[in-house]
């Protein structure tokens, strides 16, 4: 009987795992087929949302799994985007000084712009620069046990600092306008539809890789330590884990993913400005994850794509209504679905499976009773 129940429980778990895999596979297949049905403009837009989904995965790791609310992820996204934008700008200006630099009276290319002539360097740095900044900030804060609201406020301050810095240093960063007017990427014209579709699939490829990477992380014992830190940091500490190291590491991964998202965002959208790094976009990013469902990777991806799709639909129809709309939906989600859409899905699934397993259990119980010769109970 023990063995029988064990088998049932195993298949129950497998069913749920299968359902989760099914949803995410379906989502990826739909995204892969989408360009066949959508106009170039829509495909491009969806490609941007895919970049956002990568960022949402990063936020989910740090917030959903580890319980640390970062309200400054725009900075990491922006840094990744600027790294890529510097490469694109240099390619567009054909070895000459970028236009905005000459407007601000800059005569020579600043030293830190020089490595960005090379595409591989730019791509690698777009992940590394955010990760290293996160390493420094994370190490200092987590080691000193700054947490909760204090950490969130700190990340907001970081966001303000970077916006001010990037607006102020016009000669190096393009100021408020940011960096724009790109022409080609690796020699292919950005305006052509084949380049756009290719960029879309590159973004989708990276999203799938990022998803598999994050799933590997959360399913390993490392992922369980993250949840342990979220649930009871003290207990984790007295189980022999050093939370500061784990938090710093996951913060770096999260920032790296945000940087990657930024690097995929820029060639598709064609501009990066300090506005993208501000507090408002940073908070919006957290809302995507909240609506999609924190603590599940599927939720983060769905949240980012769905909320942004709604955003573009609502703002096309009623330009002024968007901010009310997102505000209301956020409040509604917090009150009615604390675990977001993914939580809702899980609830429905659980209902279906409990009914199913009740049937299985009862038939198994009948079998056992019959085997042990307790016919009178069965009858």
């Amino acid at each position: 009987m023990e063995r029988n129940l064990h088998y049932l429980k195993g298949s129950f778990l497998k069913d749920r795992l299968f359902a989760n895999n099914f949803i995410i596979t379906l989502l990826f297949v739909l995204l892969a087929l989408a360009p066949l049905f959508l106009s170039d403009f829509r495909t491009n837009l969806l490609g941007k949302f895919i970049a956002y989904a990568i960022l949402a995965l990063g936020i989910d790791l740090i917030w959903g799994y580890t319980g640390i609310l970062s309200l400054g992820h725009g900075v990491y996204f922006g840094l990744g985007a600027y790294c890529m934008a510097m490469y694109l700008k240099l390619e567009a200006s054909n070895g000459k000084l970028p236009d905005f630099m000459s407007w601000s009276g800059q005569k020579v290319l600043p030293w830190f712009w020089k490595p960005f002539v090379y595409a591989p360097v730019a791509i690698i740095l777009s992940v590394l620069v955010p990760a290293i900044l996160a390493l420094i900030i994370g190490y200092l804060t987590f080691k000193n046990r700054i947490k909760g609201v204090y950490f969130s406020i700190l990340t907001q301050a970081l966001s303000i600092i970077f916006v001010v810095l990037f607006v102020g240093q016009q000669a190096y960063t393009g100021g408020t306008n940011g960096i724009t007017n790109f022409k080609t990427i690796f020699g292919f014209p950005l305006s052509s539809s084949s380049t756009k579709v290719t960029l879309y699939y590159v973004a989708l490829g990276f999203l799938i890789l990022a998803f598999l990477f994050c799933r590997w992380i959360v399913q390993s014992r490392f992922g369980k330590v993250l949840i342990a830190i979220r649930d009871s940091e003290n207990r984790a500490r007295f189980s022999g884990y050093n939370p500061a190291i784990y938090k710093t590491f996951v913060y770096c991964i999260s920032a790296g993913l945000a940087g990657l998202a930024g690097a995929l965002f820029v060639p598709q959208v064609g501009i990066i400005s300090p506005a993208e790094m501000g507090i408002v976009p940073s908070v919006e990013m957290v809302i995507w994850v909240a609506i999609g469902g924190r603590g599940t990777l599927v939720g983060a991806v769905i949240g980012a794509i769905l909320v942004n799709s709604l955003k573009s639909m609502v703002s096309e129809g009623f330009p002024a209504a968007w901010s009310y709309f997102i505000g209301i939906s956020f409040v509604a989600v917090v009150i009615f679905m604390p675990y977001g859409l993914a939580g809702l899905l899980n609830q429905i699934k659980r209902k279906i499976y409990t009914q199913k397993s009740v049937k299985q259990y009862s038939s198994a119980a009948l079998n056992i009773l019959e085997e042990s010769g307790c016919d009178e109970y069965v009858g």
Partner: protein, 206 residues
């Protein structure tokens, strides 16, 4: 005092020497755990978001670096130990559930179990039977008695009946100083202890 030994608070002065070599006041909490000092808090604190088995896994792992949590699995011997302990604390059947489904007493046992798979040399427990019924208290007592055959168990407890039944050696502290030490019978006969813990009440009555 338990907080000072396990590194949660740093004493203003003085040293705590473990096994005659290491001064634990200089070390951080997770290093102290590596030394073999396990700590349980008064309020049950287990990880609610992962299954009971995973709770045990985290505690049982000997290597707790980033690398090993990402790339290594537990050894066969560690997994067997987890199963043994789960049987002992009576949670084996529920191992794939999350601790949210457990009662207060069961959570306490889980936490004790987590300490146990850490294989500490000394186990510090802060009021492990607070909030438990008689039956649960007895079970906890038997569990601790069994554990104490393999490692030292230090319990801070106000439940005198529990202490009388299960303690080998009782230490009475008063205002941070040692008042008396011995078996329960000796302690109860000590006039100083009676004065401090019973006497004042008596005076009040007069």
């Amino acid at each position: 005092m338990l907080d000072a030994i396990c590194g949660r608070v740093k004493p203003a002065e003085g040293k705590i020497i473990f096994k005659g070599i290491k001064d634990v006041t200089e070390m951080s909490e997770h290093q102290i755990v590596e030394l073999g000092i396990g700590r349980k808090f008064q309020v049950p604190s287990v990880f609610m978001g992962i299954t009971i088995y995973e709770n045990m896994e985290l505690a049982a792992a000997r290597k707790r670096s980033l690398y090993s949590t990402l790339f290594t699995k537990l050894s066969k011997e560690q997994m067997e130990r987890i199963q043994d302990v789960l049987q002992k604390i009576g949670l084996y059947e529920k191992r794939y559930r999350t601790p949210a489904a457990l009662s207060h007493g069961e959570k306490q046992w889980l936490e004790i179990g987590m300490l146990l798979v850490q294989q500490p040399e000394i186990m510090l427990l802060d009021e492990p039977v607070a909030g438990m019924g008689r039956k649960e208290t007895d079970k906890t007592g038997r569990l601790l008695k069994e554990i104490s055959e393999k490692c030292s168990v230090i319990v801070v407890e106000h439940d005198m009946e529990f202490v009388r039944e299960y303690a080998d050696k009782v230490t009475v502290l008063h205002e941070g100083r040692l008042l008396d030490e011995g078996n329960m019978h000796e302690i109860q006969e000590n006039p100083k202890v009676m004065e401090v813990y019973l006497g004042r009440g008596g005076e009040g009555c007069d």
